[in-house]
């Protein structure tokens, strides 16, 4: 799933909905393509953490791919980079390219 633009108080609910839909569908692996995500704050972090908990409770995995540096920094500063499975790109995940 592609996440682009900025995730904050205004746009986070839409991301929450989309992740919720995917987990409800019983997907056992969600890959979030973050290459076009230019900004995220703690509202976005909260949505990602909630999504991770939900998918883990179904024995699934959530992968964050292609994170830009400013977004990566926010995860590092909060220690969440140790909690999430982060990959440099979607290609790394699917093994293609």
């Amino acid at each position: 799933m592609n996440v682009s633009g900025e995730v904050d108080l205004h746009t986070a609910p839409m991301l929450r909905e989309r992740i919720h839909e995917l987990t409800e569908q019983g997907t056992d692996r969600i890959v979030l393509d973050l290459t076009e995500l230019s900004f995220m704050d703690s509202t976005g972090l909260g949505v990602l953490v909630a999504g991770l908990k939900r998918i883990k409770s179904r024995d699934g995995e959530l992968i964050l791919a292609g994170m830009q540096d400013p977004v990566k920094k926010i995860l590092q500063v909060t220690g969440l980079d140790k909690v999430f499975d982060m990959r440099p790109s979607v290609a790394e995940v699917t093994g293609g390219g």
Binding site: L9, G46, T78, L80
Partner: protein, 154 residues
């Protein structure tokens, strides 16, 4: 999507003292407006790009908290962002007139990062990026002022 604020004439810390202000209705869609305002000024005063990104995060957190405080208190007032420049630094203040809160500085360390406390994680993030930040608030008090500064290059 964010406009490219690099088109703004940047690069002179002209040694002046300047004041800027943005008032906006306490609605989530205007957090991005506040970010753009704050980032444009940071670039205009020659902040390194990484610090510009830090400013965007801090403003986003502070304004989000302010909007939620206004919604909770049901006040119709705008949220205000004041920016003050002096030769050495750029100071941002986010002012709201919503419900105040108890600020426990000790809660700034994240024990379990997955244990995100509503409203609290934002302050933790601001503190990590701007260790000298200040908050004036208190439960039931009239509003909150959150202030942080970024050093300007010589």
């Amino acid at each position: 999507m964010e406009a490219d604020a690099r088109a703004v004439d940047a690069g002179t810390t002209d040694g002046g003292w300047h004041e800027f202000r943005l008032d906006f209705a306490a609605e989530p869609r205007f957090v991005s407006t506040a970010r753009l305002f704050a980032a444009t000024l940071a670039r205009q005063f020659a902040c390194p790009e990484e610090r510009v990104q830090d400013v965007k995060v801090a403003i986003s957190e502070a304004c989000s908290n302010a909007i939620k405080a206004h919604e909770q208190a049901g006040v119709p007032d705008p949220v205000q962002v004041f920016v003050h420049s002096d030769p050495g630094s750029l100071t941002y203040e986010v002012v709201d007139t919503g419900e105040g809160f108890e600020f426990d500085g000790a809660a700034l360390t994240l024990e379990d990062p997955a244990d995100l406390v509503e409203g609290g994680i934002g302050l933790t993030l601001i503190g990590a990026l701007f260790p000298g930040f200040e908050v004036r608030s208190g439960p039931g008090d009239n509003g909150t002022v959150l202030r942080f500064s970024v050093d300007l290059p010589d």
